[in-house]
């Protein structure tokens, strides 16, 4: 890939009270990719996500998005810049209807609520939630909540969508529908980075995988390369000669 990256993390480090959650992470995400961010629990995947989305600041390093330094921007400004995200534990607005949840996202580019409502209805149709628009968000089933999170994020018309474990814990058929939705999102021109720790779900979907372990980039490459990488196998299963 020779064109300039959409997102670049350069030596990104985040320390929590002396615990290094991310250490010197340098990655590039290119326009139109689906990238899987994988690794065992505690590898620092969610931390990296939160740093990219601006939920909390980096300790050191810098983040570039669309050729612009966004390291100092707060979360709301990053959304306006074109980065949208979902949360690992869905954070729906439970006193609002499904439609109203998505309107909040659509207001980013459609400040008039009527236009935002049109946009939200279209996005809900696209995300397969058009039958649930009037329901309170709090009444949705867990897989529907994930869809709502995605719909809300897409309504902001992002260039980059960060999906945090949206396929985890779903039944096989729900998971297939989820995979289908992610593919459609990419086809609409949105670059996708997804965190998952269940490898078999993401590997068929992603173009490229980045493996984190203990806060550092362990490996990076096509899914086929990654699953054969001894270092990755070691991180997930433990190495044979490593006496624990």
């Amino acid at each position: 890939m020779t064109e300039a990256a959409l997102l670049t993390c350069h030596d990104v480090t985040r320390v929590f009270d002396g615990l290094v959650a991310n250490k010197d992470i340098s990655i590039e995400i290119h326009q139109g990719e689906i990238v899987g961010l994988i690794g065992p629990n505690g590898a620092g995947k969610s931390t990296l996500f939160n740093l990219i989305a601006g939920s909390f600041p980096v300790t050191s390093g810098c983040i570039m998005f669309g050729g612009r330094d966004i390291t100092g921007l707060p979360a709301a400004a990053r959304c306006h810049a074109g980065i949208a995200r979902t949360f690992q534990v869905p954070r729906s607005f439970d006193s609002m209807s499904v439609l109203e949840n998505v309107i909040v996202g659509a207001l980013v580019h459609y400040p008039r609520s009527r236009a935002a409502r049109v946009k939200a209805l279209e996005v809900l149709d696209y995300a397969g939630l058009s039958g649930r628009t009037a329901h309170p968000a709090g009444d949705l089933t867990p897989p529907e909540r994930r869809r709502l999170e995605i719909a809300r994020a897409i309504a902001t018309e992002p260039r980059l969508l960060l999906l945090d474990e949206v396929l985890t814990g779903l039944t096989p058929s729900e998971s297939r529908e989820g995979v289908d939705l992610v593919r459609r999102i990419r086809e609409s021109g949105i670059t996708v980075v997804m965190v998952e720790h269940v490898m078999e779900v993401v590997m068929p979907l992603v173009d490229r995988a980045i493996v984190l372990n203990l806060g550092e980039v362990l490996a990076e490459g096509s899914p086929a390369e990654i699953v054969r990488d001894p270092a990755v196998i070691g991180a997930y299963l433990g190495t044979r000669n490593h006496a624990a």
Binding site: V89, F93, M96
Partner: protein
């Protein structure tokens, strides 16, 4: 094609519902405006005026606390600011109350912004406690401010009945129409805001601030906007109250009891809803006034018994309004 047809259908249905709501409110206000034709009893008229005043105040409180979720129990500060600004400008400078109401409202909005800059870093209960403490500080300051009459308060001069000075000694009907108008304005403002960007942002901030932020909502400016609008109309209500009574003292316009009385109608009727405050006020204020006059005495104690009893009844029979006050939902989503 199908999708766009259903989208335009949904939009049309939504707009129809919105304007129906507006038409209903218009009819109710028009019908209420004729009440003085049938009610001539001064006591009943007083109760009706207070009911509408608290409906308007609670509607204002609801903007910050109901929609944006920042529970304030210090709105008496803005009420008092409005009452004192209007009174001082009229009594000391001869400025007509109409200007006093606007200036008092603007002053309260500025104070709300200054206090918000300090207090909106506090979350949940801590914010609420700060609002109580700040209002108590305001009350103490007024108590000791000689120019504003200190503990003695301010007496408005007697004059002829006039719309210019908002003074009507005999017939209370003009006050009724004024406060009905004030309520209609607060309702209308809420109706407009509900379907505006701010309205959605406020509810998003209330429900889940981190998610709101990820969708481009700036939390701080959302809270500041809600605080300023809420304080403005609360102060206008305070200015009206001063004109209505023609006499104010610190405890009658800035005590904690007033903060409670602004919050309770919305809580009882349905917090964060368009109709909750007026329904709550229609239940709470007549009951409060009736018990006060029938049981007699100072009435201070019986008020509290009535509030307590009402809250228990509502909590058992229709808990939605009260439940949203509890932080359990936000606590869950934070973990």
């Amino acid at each position: 094609m199908d999708a766009s047809v259903s989208v335009s259908g949904a939009i049309a249905a939504f707009r129809r519902d919105r304007w129906r709501e507006m038409a209903l409110a218009g009819l109710l206000v028009a019908a209420a405006a004729t009440i003085p034709l049938f009610v001539h009893d001064v006591y009943t008229m007083n109760v009706l005026i207070l009911t509408l005043l608290y409906a308007a105040l609670s509607q204002s409180w609801n903007i910050l606390s109901g929609y944006c979720g920042q529970i304030s129990l210090g709105h008496a500060l803005y009420f008092g600011l409005g009452a004192y600004t209007t009174s001082i400008l009229y009594v000391h400078f001869g400025v007509l109350p109409w200007f006093g109401l606007a200036i008092g409202g603007a002053l309260a909005a500025l104070v709300a912004l200054a206090l918000g800059a300090m207090c909106f870093r506090l979350a949940g209960h801590y914010f609420t406690i700060a609002t109580i403490v700040i209002a108590e500080i305001g009350l103490t300051l007024i108590h000791n401010w000689d120019y504003a009459g200190a503990a003695m308060g301010i007496q408005w001069p007697f004059g002829p009945d006039s719309w210019a000075s908002l003074q009507f000694a005999r017939d209370k009907t003009p006050y009724f129409h004024f406060v009905l108008g004030l309520f209609a304005v607060t309702w209308l403002v809420t109706w407009v805001i509900e379907e505006s960007r701010w309205g959605y942002w406020w509810r998003a901030v209330k429900d889940n601030a981190p998610a709101a932020e990820s969708l481009g909502v700036t939390i701080f400016s959302s809270k500041m906007m809600a605080a300023a609008i809420s304080a403005f109309f609360t102060a206008v209500g305070g200015g009206f109250y001063a004109a209505f009574l023609s006499y104010i003292d610190p405890d009658s316009v800035m005590s904690f009891r007033l903060s409670l009385l602004m919050a309770l109608p919305a809580v009882i009727g349905g917090i964060g809803t368009l109709w909750g405050p007026v329904i709550g006020a229609a239940v709470l204020i007549p009951i409060t006034e009736l018990t006060r006059s029938f049981i007699g005495g100072t009435g201070a104690g019986t008020d509290l018994i009535v509030y307590g009893g009402l809250i228990m009844v509502i909590a058992l029979a229709r808990p939605e309004g009260l439940l949203s006050l509890l932080p359990s939902r936000s606590r869950e989503s934070r973990t």
